[in-house]
Symmetry: D2
């Protein structure tokens, strides 16, 4: 059975990065066009998720389109940058109503870019919405503002999907949308059909979830709109190469998707700080293809039977035998 799985990546996979120590960056800055060309070099990517606004304000959508086309790439989503300096104390929950308004405007602009590219969704990653210190915020107010902000956008753009990428923390010490259950609870409260979850495998893992369980829960609520993968050491969002640390839970995650006939793009959200970014993407996709084949080998009926008895040894042996050949 030949692979027909579609792969994608956040375009930031091909950027260079700064942190609070290497303030001069882990490499020279790259333009968006350069990043798109690097994404094209991976050879297996069909779609990308692009940050907005572009670092270069003069860069036109048409120029981006040309670069995408020459690399056979489409846009799956747009990620508005609602986590830069202006939004340091939050986008939806910023104490300053003017900042909240500008966040709304920026995301509405991003919605138009989604339309321009025929993309699937606006991705909301409100990394600065949350708190750092005990006593810093009124938790009730903060949560209401989080839901109001997302709900307003969904109402303003009923033709588009909004996906929330939850994450336990970073850059804020605690994020409002911190887990699958909290996010679903909020989405149910908002009550609109066009708000869903983009499940990041690594966020789920280091948040103490089982990513497979998180995926099942989101699917059962009809809200799993997207997903991406990477890996980490379960204590932080290390954004390592997918499968480099937790291949078995990654396998269980994709097993859960297939069992539920969830058929979206398998995306990468990796930050290769010190690695060759094309090589890091190829390494991940190579392993994802291995997982795809292992799913074909896996005896789903035997697995269901083992799970019905909570027979961990048999279930593990089945998974191993499919994954390790």
């Amino acid at each position: 059975m030949a692979s027909e799985q579609k792969f994608g990546a956040g375009i930031w996979h091909f950027a260079t990065y700064v942190d609070r120590y290497a303030t001069d960056g882990y490499g020279p800055p790259r333009t968006l066009i350069e990043m798109i060309d690097m994404a094209g070099q991976v050879g297996d990517l069909s779609v990308v998720d692009i940050n907005y606004p572009f670092a270069d304000p003069k860069l036109s959508l048409d120029a981006v389109d040309v670069a995408l086309k020459r690399n056979n790439l489409e846009v799956i989503g747009i990620t508005p940058e609602i986590y830069t300096r202006e939004f340091a104390k939050g986008a939806f929950t910023n104490p300053d109503p003017g900042v909240r308004r500008r966040a709304n405007e920026l995301i509405n602009d991003a919605a138009n870019v989604v339309r321009r590219f025929g993309a699937k969704y606006v991705k909301l990653w409100p990394g600065q919405d949350g708190w750092d210190y005990p006593f810093q915020v009124d938790h009730g107010d903060l949560w209401r503002a989080s839901l109001d902000g997302v709900g307003e956008l969904a109402q303003q753009n009923p033709d588009l999907q909004f996906v929330i990428e939850y994450k336990p923390r970073e850059p804020r010490n605690h994020m409002s949308f911190d887990s699958v259950a909290r996010t679903l609870l909020g989405i149910e409260k908002i009550g609109l059909p066009n708000v869903g979850i983009l499940l990041d495998f690594g966020h789920s893992l280091y948040g103490g979830e089982s990513p497979a369980d998180a995926a099942q829960l989101a699917i059962d609520h009809g809200r799993l709109f997207g997903m991406d993968v990477n890996d980490n050491l379960r204590g932080w969002d290390d954004d390592m190469i997918a499968g480099s640390v937790h291949p078995i839970e990654l396998f269980e995650f994709f097993y859960t998707l297939r069992k539920n006939k969830w058929e979206g793009v398998w995306q990468l959200d990796q930050f290769p700080f010190r690695e060759d970014c094309v090589g890091a993407a190829q390494s991940a996709i190579g392993f994802l293809k291995h997982i795809e084949k292992a799913l074909n080998r896996l005896d789903f009926d035997a697995m269901r039977a083992a799970q019905a008895k909570q027979d961990a040894v048999t279930a593990l042996n089945l998974a191993r035998s499919a994954l390790f050949g």
Copy 2:
């Protein structure tokens, strides 16, 4: 202003414990009557939460009642032991329908004990409902069984409250009811008025929540039916003396309760493995009384103003000044 706060404790605070290493126990076993008498020695306890069935099957409810009365104690809740050998693979989610049935029967028996003592709730702590290994369970089935089990009880006993004490893990490597948001999501799905949350400060803390935020969320959903406190090192349910490690977040937790005019009992859920249990309870309650006074000193208006700006430094200084005198 004299303290009118009511204090309580899980009766297991006065037990001795075993673990997988000290299989001979950290002290000689104690009878329930001895534990009740030790609870009485604390001097500040008004209510206790009692496990059921009793270790001694011959012990009558009347004998327990006599012991409680001579110590001026009332029963706030009954905790059925749905986490012993029979339930090692779950009470509500056990693969064996017979075990699930016996769990239901045991909890219904416990409900009758709640009625007998005029207590407030049946406490559900399904510590064996969850999983240990990747691939071990069908996550969708497990979660449905969790909700079905609780829902059935709530329907069978509409005159009583059922409180779910969520916890991230232990003894299972992952518990079904693992967080405040997951539990609320499930409770909303069950859709009955007599199911709520008993929020354990320590479970919230080591689950990566802010206990103050968790309390606010449960209150905003009308589901904070009870609470208890202890402390830990944020990595495990150490059940240490309340305030011994995280006094500031404990203070924020009680600040949140008072701000919302939540007026229940302040309970202890501590496991003094190697400590004098009466002394450990007195130490905790001494600190809770300190917190009560600190709440009286705290400038709530100034705190609200600081929080409205997310001014962490001012908020912290206000909290410190009230708490550290």
Copy 3:
């Protein structure tokens, strides 16, 4: 190349367990003889590590010997139970000098059992030596007592090896011998040739170490006297089936041993609370044999070259290709 690797297990792998909730145990108690017979059923075990004293005080060493022989098992080490009720506040560091003396006597008795069985070492796992609370101990005194206790034993028994199995925590909230570096620092201070480390893969992992790095450090100090494996979720000593969560780091661990020509027994330290213990051992050893073959496939020269450049992508691809076939 046929497997000539020797495998072993702690005999407690075949016990049943209690914890603070399932106080009636996860199964009916088993005698040591029953456990030895179950170890024999695994089919691949050559050696076992046995706790001392035996649960049944009437059980003779000869009877144990007979059971071992009929299962083709030898004794690699004896683990004195210095973590039961009497030692709840420590064996080497107990505030009561009488308890410290009895710990010494008990371990000297265990040393005689080591001699009786021609075993390799006395294993010291001082799980109760440490602390629970801030301010509870004088840290300088505690550490000195830890070293004095081990040093005294090594001097009393110069013909035997003593191996310290360090662990971050549990049952104490913090153990004195908590990490590879701390333990080596102490061993260097003791300054005797017959004190070394038994490295538990899972303890290293959930202590935040890289087990491969820990093994290298112990080897470079000439102190890696033994090892055992299992797995966990990086937050607690879950003692799960080896390779069930972290197969890549397990592979790196054994890669490090082979690279250094370390040729000891590959042992299991698993606690199958709810699993069939023979099946859990077989599942682990099956995977260890897979790792053994993967080591034969791995291109060590290419790996060294990648590591010399810190080329994570190439190193990962090499490891994957050997491990996942």
Copy 4:
């Protein structure tokens, strides 16, 4: 008793920061001179630790000296920036010998700045020395290079102190000098009198150590050359305001210093990303002064007696009574 305690801060406390998301920074960049003037505004700082080289290459040492003098500040140490882009794969352990050489030169330059200002030490914080992925490095080589790099500097500059600030991780997923014990083990191997530890309270805390125990161990090895404080949520180096989360362990840390008559500067290492930096420093120092007074109130003899019995309840009550008034 009037405070005679000297306070200090890393000058980066008064900088603005970038991270991988807010790449435009949490505020406009500040010059070193501006930072020094802000340090002066705190009112209680006597010394600062300064990064080298300066962001502005034209800034003269004399100009810095003038700014320091007008703010009554002295230099306690110089922190060479061995964690910027060039050193992304390590300073002492970089695979490129040319980079290792430049690290040595840069630190020798920093040593001259230490001499110029009559400061106490060169601070080594090799945040990029370590690894990210399983299989990425040869652990033995990496550790040897770490020790060689530090040892060479100490030999080249026998008139100066070199202090290693260990840290578990960040920016590398794992740092070579990751804990107090590992660092002491390395320092003993280096075997030179002018290499010691600068103990960061937060690094110790989130590394799973008890900072009080770490301090005691470093003191007992004669290697506690410096210290700084902050706070975090035990999972990451959050560099929050000292005492904002863990005041009791902070108190135990200073108790340990006083008990040992360790009389150095109490320094701050905080990163007020979103806070007023002068206010954050003042808040911390206000609390440190509270701790100083609490130490004066604390009954040291009673504490020693409680610790000699491992009496956690009494020890906690003593500490509370001194700290909470």
